[in-house]
Symmetry: C2
Subunit: 211 residues, 2 copies
Protein backbone atom coordinates (compact mmCIF):
# COMPACT_ATOMS: atom_id res chain seq x y z
CA UNK A 1 0.00 0.00 0.00
CA UNK A 2 1.26 3.46 -0.85
CA UNK A 3 -0.16 6.78 0.38
CA UNK A 4 0.53 9.94 -1.60
CA UNK A 5 0.25 12.93 0.73
CA UNK A 6 1.72 16.14 2.07
CA UNK A 7 2.48 16.95 5.68
CA UNK A 8 -0.02 19.79 5.91
CA UNK A 9 -2.87 18.23 3.92
CA UNK A 10 -5.75 17.62 6.34
CA UNK A 11 -7.14 14.98 4.03
CA UNK A 12 -3.87 13.00 4.00
CA UNK A 13 -3.65 13.52 7.79
CA UNK A 14 -7.02 11.71 8.15
CA UNK A 15 -5.76 8.72 6.18
CA UNK A 16 -2.52 8.56 8.19
CA UNK A 17 -4.55 8.34 11.41
CA UNK A 18 -6.70 5.53 9.96
CA UNK A 19 -3.62 3.54 8.93
CA UNK A 20 -2.13 3.99 12.41
CA UNK A 21 -5.33 3.04 14.27
CA UNK A 22 -5.48 -0.17 12.26
CA UNK A 23 -1.79 -0.88 12.78
CA UNK A 24 -1.08 -0.86 9.04
CA UNK A 25 2.20 0.01 7.36
CA UNK A 26 2.08 1.89 4.07
CA UNK A 27 4.79 3.49 1.99
CA UNK A 28 4.43 7.24 2.21
CA UNK A 29 5.19 9.48 -0.76
CA UNK A 30 5.12 13.20 -0.08
CA UNK A 31 4.22 15.77 -2.75
CA UNK A 32 4.98 19.42 -2.10
CA UNK A 33 1.67 21.18 -2.73
CA UNK A 34 3.09 24.69 -2.55
CA UNK A 35 5.48 23.71 -5.34
CA UNK A 36 2.50 22.33 -7.32
CA UNK A 37 3.84 18.76 -7.30
CA UNK A 38 0.21 17.58 -7.33
CA UNK A 39 -0.14 19.04 -10.85
CA UNK A 40 2.80 17.06 -12.29
CA UNK A 41 1.76 14.78 -15.20
CA UNK A 42 2.84 11.64 -13.34
CA UNK A 43 0.71 12.52 -10.35
CA UNK A 44 -2.29 13.51 -12.49
CA UNK A 45 -2.28 9.97 -13.88
CA UNK A 46 -2.89 8.77 -10.32
CA UNK A 47 -5.42 11.47 -9.49
CA UNK A 48 -6.80 13.59 -12.32
CA UNK A 49 -8.14 16.02 -9.71
CA UNK A 50 -4.57 17.02 -8.83
CA UNK A 51 -5.24 16.71 -5.11
CA UNK A 52 -3.73 14.60 -2.35
CA UNK A 53 -4.27 12.04 -1.00
CA UNK A 54 -4.13 9.28 -3.56
CA UNK A 55 -3.79 5.71 -2.35
CA UNK A 56 -2.45 2.66 -4.14
CA UNK A 57 -4.11 -0.41 -2.64
CA UNK A 58 -1.32 -2.76 -3.65
CA UNK A 59 -3.37 -4.78 -6.13
CA UNK A 60 -3.33 -2.24 -8.92
CA UNK A 61 -6.17 0.01 -7.81
CA UNK A 62 -5.72 3.71 -7.09
CA UNK A 63 -8.22 5.37 -4.79
CA UNK A 64 -8.73 9.10 -4.30
CA UNK A 65 -10.70 11.13 -1.75
CA UNK A 66 -9.70 10.57 1.86
CA UNK A 67 -13.11 9.36 3.05
CA UNK A 68 -13.29 6.77 0.26
CA UNK A 69 -9.77 5.57 1.08
CA UNK A 70 -10.71 5.29 4.76
CA UNK A 71 -13.92 3.41 3.93
CA UNK A 72 -11.83 0.96 1.88
CA UNK A 73 -9.40 0.52 4.78
CA UNK A 74 -12.31 0.02 7.16
CA UNK A 75 -13.96 -2.62 4.98
CA UNK A 76 -10.69 -4.40 4.21
CA UNK A 77 -9.23 -4.23 7.74
CA UNK A 78 -12.31 -4.04 9.97
CA UNK A 79 -10.54 -3.95 13.34
CA UNK A 80 -11.02 -1.51 15.02
CA UNK A 81 -14.18 -0.33 13.21
CA UNK A 82 -14.21 3.37 12.35
CA UNK A 83 -17.99 3.57 11.92
CA UNK A 84 -19.39 1.17 14.54
CA UNK A 85 -23.05 0.69 15.41
CA UNK A 86 -26.40 0.41 13.65
CA UNK A 87 -27.32 2.20 10.43
CA UNK A 88 -28.40 5.37 12.21
CA UNK A 89 -25.26 5.62 14.33
CA UNK A 90 -23.08 4.86 11.32
CA UNK A 91 -24.86 7.61 9.36
CA UNK A 92 -24.46 10.13 12.20
CA UNK A 93 -20.71 9.47 12.33
CA UNK A 94 -20.50 9.89 8.56
CA UNK A 95 -22.60 13.04 8.75
CA UNK A 96 -20.13 14.64 11.17
CA UNK A 97 -17.21 13.61 8.97
CA UNK A 98 -18.88 15.07 5.88
CA UNK A 99 -19.70 18.31 7.69
CA UNK A 100 -15.93 18.76 7.94
CA UNK A 101 -14.88 17.12 4.67
CA UNK A 102 -17.50 18.83 2.48
CA UNK A 103 -18.55 22.06 4.15
CA UNK A 104 -15.38 23.25 5.86
CA UNK A 105 -12.19 21.83 4.41
CA UNK A 106 -12.66 22.28 0.61
CA UNK A 107 -13.87 25.86 1.07
CA UNK A 108 -10.58 26.85 2.72
CA UNK A 109 -8.03 24.67 0.97
CA UNK A 110 -4.99 25.93 -0.89
CA UNK A 111 -6.75 25.91 -4.26
CA UNK A 112 -9.54 28.21 -3.04
CA UNK A 113 -7.24 30.52 -1.10
CA UNK A 114 -5.01 30.91 -4.16
CA UNK A 115 -8.07 31.78 -6.23
CA UNK A 116 -9.06 34.43 -3.72
CA UNK A 117 -5.57 35.94 -4.00
CA UNK A 118 -5.95 36.06 -7.77
CA UNK A 119 -9.16 38.07 -7.22
CA UNK A 120 -7.21 40.66 -5.27
CA UNK A 121 -7.60 39.48 -1.68
CA UNK A 122 -4.56 40.24 0.44
CA UNK A 123 -3.19 38.06 3.28
CA UNK A 124 -5.68 39.48 5.77
CA UNK A 125 -8.60 38.92 3.42
CA UNK A 126 -7.58 35.36 2.68
CA UNK A 127 -7.17 34.58 6.35
CA UNK A 128 -10.53 36.16 7.19
CA UNK A 129 -12.18 33.88 4.61
CA UNK A 130 -10.53 30.75 5.99
CA UNK A 131 -11.33 31.76 9.57
CA UNK A 132 -14.98 32.38 8.65
CA UNK A 133 -15.36 28.94 7.08
CA UNK A 134 -13.71 27.20 10.04
CA UNK A 135 -15.51 29.18 12.73
CA UNK A 136 -18.97 28.76 11.21
CA UNK A 137 -18.52 25.09 10.44
CA UNK A 138 -16.95 24.14 13.75
CA UNK A 139 -19.64 26.01 15.70
CA UNK A 140 -22.28 23.78 14.10
CA UNK A 141 -20.07 20.74 14.70
CA UNK A 142 -19.87 21.71 18.38
CA UNK A 143 -23.68 21.74 18.58
CA UNK A 144 -23.89 18.31 16.96
CA UNK A 145 -21.13 16.94 19.20
CA UNK A 146 -22.89 18.17 22.36
CA UNK A 147 -25.66 15.65 21.58
CA UNK A 148 -23.27 12.70 21.95
CA UNK A 149 -21.40 11.40 24.98
CA UNK A 150 -17.60 11.56 25.09
CA UNK A 151 -14.79 11.70 25.50
CA UNK A 152 -14.48 11.06 21.75
CA UNK A 153 -17.07 12.55 19.41
CA UNK A 154 -19.10 9.35 19.43
CA UNK A 155 -18.38 7.64 22.73
CA UNK A 156 -15.39 5.90 24.17
CA UNK A 157 -13.51 5.01 20.98
CA UNK A 158 -12.28 7.16 18.09
CA UNK A 159 -14.35 7.04 14.91
CA UNK A 160 -14.21 8.52 11.42
CA UNK A 161 -15.60 11.73 12.96
CA UNK A 162 -12.51 12.16 15.16
CA UNK A 163 -10.26 11.45 12.19
CA UNK A 164 -11.81 14.48 10.48
CA UNK A 165 -12.02 16.73 13.52
CA UNK A 166 -8.38 16.65 14.63
CA UNK A 167 -6.88 17.82 11.31
CA UNK A 168 -9.57 20.50 10.99
CA UNK A 169 -8.79 21.95 14.42
CA UNK A 170 -5.14 22.09 13.32
CA UNK A 171 -6.28 24.18 10.35
CA UNK A 172 -8.56 26.35 12.44
CA UNK A 173 -5.70 27.33 14.74
CA UNK A 174 -3.47 28.02 11.75
CA UNK A 175 -6.12 30.51 10.60
CA UNK A 176 -6.26 32.00 14.13
CA UNK A 177 -9.78 30.84 15.00
CA UNK A 178 -10.49 31.01 18.74
CA UNK A 179 -11.19 27.32 19.27
CA UNK A 180 -11.86 27.80 23.00
CA UNK A 181 -15.46 28.44 21.91
CA UNK A 182 -15.74 24.69 21.19
CA UNK A 183 -15.17 22.88 24.50
CA UNK A 184 -16.81 19.62 23.39
CA UNK A 185 -14.62 19.48 20.28
CA UNK A 186 -11.53 20.19 22.39
CA UNK A 187 -12.50 17.36 24.77
CA UNK A 188 -12.62 14.96 21.81
CA UNK A 189 -9.35 16.31 20.43
CA UNK A 190 -7.63 15.80 23.79
CA UNK A 191 -8.83 12.20 23.93
CA UNK A 192 -7.52 11.65 20.41
CA UNK A 193 -4.14 13.26 21.01
CA UNK A 194 -3.58 10.92 23.95
CA UNK A 195 -3.28 8.15 21.34
CA UNK A 196 -0.01 7.61 19.41
CA UNK A 197 -2.07 6.82 16.29
CA UNK A 198 -3.10 10.47 16.17
CA UNK A 199 0.14 12.13 17.27
CA UNK A 200 2.29 10.10 14.87
CA UNK A 201 0.06 11.35 12.04
CA UNK A 202 0.43 15.05 12.90
CA UNK A 203 2.02 17.36 10.32
CA UNK A 204 5.03 18.16 12.50
CA UNK A 205 5.86 14.45 12.71
CA UNK A 206 6.08 13.90 8.95
CA UNK A 207 9.46 13.79 7.17
CA UNK A 208 8.45 16.55 4.73
CA UNK A 209 7.45 18.94 7.54
CA UNK A 210 8.40 22.58 7.14
CA UNK A 211 7.76 25.05 9.99
CA UNK B 1 -39.66 9.68 6.83
CA UNK B 2 -39.47 13.39 6.12
CA UNK B 3 -36.98 15.14 3.80
CA UNK B 4 -36.26 18.83 4.29
CA UNK B 5 -35.06 20.29 1.02
CA UNK B 6 -35.30 23.00 -1.60
CA UNK B 7 -35.99 22.54 -5.29
CA UNK B 8 -32.63 23.88 -6.41
CA UNK B 9 -30.43 22.26 -3.74
CA UNK B 10 -28.20 19.72 -5.48
CA UNK B 11 -27.74 17.89 -2.21
CA UNK B 12 -31.50 17.49 -1.67
CA UNK B 13 -31.82 16.50 -5.37
CA UNK B 14 -29.42 13.58 -4.70
CA UNK B 15 -31.56 12.33 -1.82
CA UNK B 16 -34.76 12.64 -3.86
CA UNK B 17 -33.23 10.41 -6.55
CA UNK B 18 -32.20 7.82 -3.93
CA UNK B 19 -35.71 7.72 -2.46
CA UNK B 20 -37.21 7.29 -5.93
CA UNK B 21 -34.78 4.55 -6.99
CA UNK B 22 -35.68 2.60 -3.88
CA UNK B 23 -39.40 3.18 -4.37
CA UNK B 24 -39.75 4.96 -1.01
CA UNK B 25 -42.29 7.61 -0.08
CA UNK B 26 -41.21 10.44 2.20
CA UNK B 27 -42.95 13.62 3.24
CA UNK B 28 -41.19 16.54 1.57
CA UNK B 29 -40.80 19.87 3.35
CA UNK B 30 -39.38 22.69 1.24
CA UNK B 31 -37.37 25.55 2.74
CA UNK B 32 -36.75 28.65 0.64
CA UNK B 33 -32.97 29.09 0.78
CA UNK B 34 -32.96 32.50 -0.88
CA UNK B 35 -35.32 33.69 1.88
CA UNK B 36 -32.93 32.20 4.48
CA UNK B 37 -35.51 29.70 5.77
CA UNK B 38 -32.60 27.36 6.56
CA UNK B 39 -31.44 29.84 9.22
CA UNK B 40 -34.80 29.86 11.08
CA UNK B 41 -34.47 28.72 14.74
CA UNK B 42 -36.80 25.77 14.20
CA UNK B 43 -34.73 24.51 11.27
CA UNK B 44 -31.43 25.05 13.09
CA UNK B 45 -32.68 22.64 15.76
CA UNK B 46 -32.85 20.01 13.03
CA UNK B 47 -29.56 20.96 11.40
CA UNK B 48 -27.25 23.34 13.28
CA UNK B 49 -25.31 23.83 10.03
CA UNK B 50 -28.30 25.65 8.53
CA UNK B 51 -28.09 23.67 5.32
CA UNK B 52 -30.51 21.40 3.49
CA UNK B 53 -31.09 18.52 3.30
CA UNK B 54 -32.06 17.27 6.73
CA UNK B 55 -33.83 13.94 7.02
CA UNK B 56 -36.08 12.59 9.75
CA UNK B 57 -35.83 8.82 9.73
CA UNK B 58 -39.22 8.31 11.37
CA UNK B 59 -37.89 6.83 14.61
CA UNK B 60 -36.74 10.08 16.15
CA UNK B 61 -33.35 10.43 14.47
CA UNK B 62 -32.41 13.41 12.31
CA UNK B 63 -29.66 12.94 9.74
CA UNK B 64 -27.82 15.67 7.87
CA UNK B 65 -25.43 15.60 4.90
CA UNK B 66 -26.87 14.11 1.72
CA UNK B 67 -24.29 11.31 1.40
CA UNK B 68 -24.87 10.19 4.99
CA UNK B 69 -28.63 10.20 4.42
CA UNK B 70 -28.18 8.16 1.24
CA UNK B 71 -25.86 5.69 3.02
CA UNK B 72 -28.55 5.25 5.68
CA UNK B 73 -31.20 4.65 3.02
CA UNK B 74 -28.90 2.18 1.27
CA UNK B 75 -28.20 0.21 4.45
CA UNK B 76 -31.83 0.27 5.58
CA UNK B 77 -33.41 -0.42 2.18
CA UNK B 78 -30.68 -2.32 0.31
CA UNK B 79 -32.56 -2.90 -2.94
CA UNK B 80 -31.32 -1.72 -5.40
CA UNK B 81 -27.82 -1.22 -3.97
CA UNK B 82 -26.32 2.22 -4.65
CA UNK B 83 -22.72 1.10 -4.01
CA UNK B 84 -22.55 -2.46 -5.34
CA UNK B 85 -19.44 -4.60 -5.67
CA UNK B 86 -16.33 -5.41 -3.67
CA UNK B 87 -14.52 -2.98 -1.36
CA UNK B 88 -12.46 -1.45 -4.17
CA UNK B 89 -15.44 -0.88 -6.44
CA UNK B 90 -17.50 0.51 -3.56
CA UNK B 91 -14.64 2.88 -2.72
CA UNK B 92 -14.29 4.02 -6.34
CA UNK B 93 -18.00 4.84 -6.51
CA UNK B 94 -17.73 6.77 -3.24
CA UNK B 95 -14.62 8.54 -4.50
CA UNK B 96 -16.48 9.85 -7.55
CA UNK B 97 -19.39 10.97 -5.36
CA UNK B 98 -17.04 12.78 -2.99
CA UNK B 99 -15.20 14.45 -5.86
CA UNK B 100 -18.52 16.17 -6.57
CA UNK B 101 -19.84 16.50 -3.02
CA UNK B 102 -16.59 17.79 -1.47
CA UNK B 103 -14.56 19.43 -4.20
CA UNK B 104 -17.17 20.95 -6.50
CA UNK B 105 -20.52 21.55 -4.87
CA UNK B 106 -19.60 23.25 -1.53
CA UNK B 107 -17.17 25.59 -3.28
CA UNK B 108 -19.96 27.02 -5.44
CA UNK B 109 -23.01 26.87 -3.20
CA UNK B 110 -25.17 29.82 -2.23
CA UNK B 111 -23.27 30.48 1.01
CA UNK B 112 -19.93 30.84 -0.80
CA UNK B 113 -21.33 32.88 -3.68
CA UNK B 114 -22.99 35.27 -1.21
CA UNK B 115 -19.66 35.64 0.58
CA UNK B 116 -17.95 36.50 -2.69
CA UNK B 117 -20.56 39.19 -3.30
CA UNK B 118 -19.87 40.64 0.13
CA UNK B 119 -16.19 40.88 -0.91
CA UNK B 120 -17.17 43.02 -3.86
CA UNK B 121 -17.52 40.47 -6.65
CA UNK B 122 -20.25 41.41 -9.15
CA UNK B 123 -22.57 38.99 -10.98
CA UNK B 124 -19.93 38.24 -13.61
CA UNK B 125 -17.26 37.60 -11.00
CA UNK B 126 -19.48 35.28 -9.01
CA UNK B 127 -20.47 33.36 -12.10
CA UNK B 128 -16.84 33.07 -13.21
CA UNK B 129 -15.96 31.56 -9.82
CA UNK B 130 -18.80 29.02 -9.97
CA UNK B 131 -17.97 28.14 -13.58
CA UNK B 132 -14.28 27.64 -12.67
CA UNK B 133 -15.13 25.23 -9.85
CA UNK B 134 -17.54 23.23 -12.00
CA UNK B 135 -15.34 23.15 -15.10
CA UNK B 136 -12.19 22.08 -13.27
CA UNK B 137 -13.93 19.49 -11.14
CA UNK B 138 -16.02 17.99 -13.93
CA UNK B 139 -12.98 17.75 -16.23
CA UNK B 140 -11.27 15.52 -13.67
CA UNK B 141 -14.51 13.57 -13.19
CA UNK B 142 -14.62 13.01 -16.96
CA UNK B 143 -11.11 11.50 -16.84
CA UNK B 144 -12.10 9.20 -13.99
CA UNK B 145 -15.33 8.21 -15.72
CA UNK B 146 -13.50 7.32 -18.94
CA UNK B 147 -11.85 4.47 -17.01
CA UNK B 148 -15.21 2.77 -16.37
CA UNK B 149 -17.66 1.19 -18.78
CA UNK B 150 -21.11 2.72 -19.27
CA UNK B 151 -23.70 3.77 -19.94
CA UNK B 152 -23.91 4.81 -16.26
CA UNK B 153 -20.77 6.00 -14.49
CA UNK B 154 -20.11 2.55 -13.09
CA UNK B 155 -21.70 0.09 -15.48
CA UNK B 156 -25.24 -0.80 -16.37
CA UNK B 157 -27.04 0.43 -13.24
CA UNK B 158 -27.14 3.83 -11.56
CA UNK B 159 -24.99 4.21 -8.43
CA UNK B 160 -24.28 6.88 -5.84
CA UNK B 161 -21.91 8.43 -8.39
CA UNK B 162 -24.76 9.09 -10.85
CA UNK B 163 -26.87 10.54 -8.02
CA UNK B 164 -24.15 13.16 -7.53
CA UNK B 165 -23.36 13.75 -11.20
CA UNK B 166 -26.83 14.63 -12.48
CA UNK B 167 -27.50 17.48 -10.01
CA UNK B 168 -23.98 18.82 -10.57
CA UNK B 169 -24.43 18.99 -14.34
CA UNK B 170 -27.64 20.92 -13.69
CA UNK B 171 -25.56 23.40 -11.70
CA UNK B 172 -22.80 23.52 -14.29
CA UNK B 173 -25.26 24.53 -17.00
CA UNK B 174 -26.80 27.14 -14.73
CA UNK B 175 -23.32 28.66 -14.46
CA UNK B 176 -22.91 28.45 -18.25
CA UNK B 177 -20.19 25.81 -18.31
CA UNK B 178 -19.77 24.20 -21.74
CA UNK B 179 -20.57 20.63 -20.70
CA UNK B 180 -20.08 19.30 -24.25
CA UNK B 181 -16.42 18.90 -23.20
CA UNK B 182 -17.52 15.96 -21.03
CA UNK B 183 -19.02 13.34 -23.39
CA UNK B 184 -18.66 10.45 -20.96
CA UNK B 185 -20.48 12.38 -18.24
CA UNK B 186 -23.21 13.31 -20.71
CA UNK B 187 -23.60 9.64 -21.67
CA UNK B 188 -24.15 8.76 -18.01
CA UNK B 189 -26.54 11.67 -17.55
CA UNK B 190 -28.60 10.57 -20.57
CA UNK B 191 -28.87 7.05 -19.17
CA UNK B 192 -29.99 8.48 -15.83
CA UNK B 193 -32.55 10.87 -17.30
CA UNK B 194 -34.18 7.97 -19.12
CA UNK B 195 -35.31 6.79 -15.66
CA UNK B 196 -38.37 8.34 -13.95
CA UNK B 197 -36.51 8.14 -10.60
CA UNK B 198 -34.16 10.85 -11.87
CA UNK B 199 -36.62 13.02 -13.80
CA UNK B 200 -39.17 13.10 -10.96
CA UNK B 201 -36.41 14.42 -8.68
CA UNK B 202 -35.43 17.31 -10.97
CA UNK B 203 -35.79 20.86 -9.65
CA UNK B 204 -38.43 21.80 -12.22
CA UNK B 205 -40.63 18.95 -11.01
CA UNK B 206 -40.75 20.06 -7.37
CA UNK B 207 -43.75 21.96 -5.97
CA UNK B 208 -41.56 24.84 -4.77
CA UNK B 209 -39.95 25.34 -8.19
CA UNK B 210 -39.44 28.91 -9.35
CA UNK B 211 -38.16 29.63 -12.87
Amino acid sequence: MRLHGYFRSSAAFRVRIALNLKGLQAEHVYHHLRHNAQKAPEFLKLNPHGLVPAFETGDGAVLTQSLAIIEWLDETFPDPPLRPGDATRRAKILSFALAVACDIHPVQNLRVLNRLRSLGQDDAGVQAWAAWVNRDGLAACETLAMRESGPFLFGTQPTLADLCLVPQLYNARRFKVDVSAFPRLLEAEAAALALPAFTAAQPQNQPDFEP
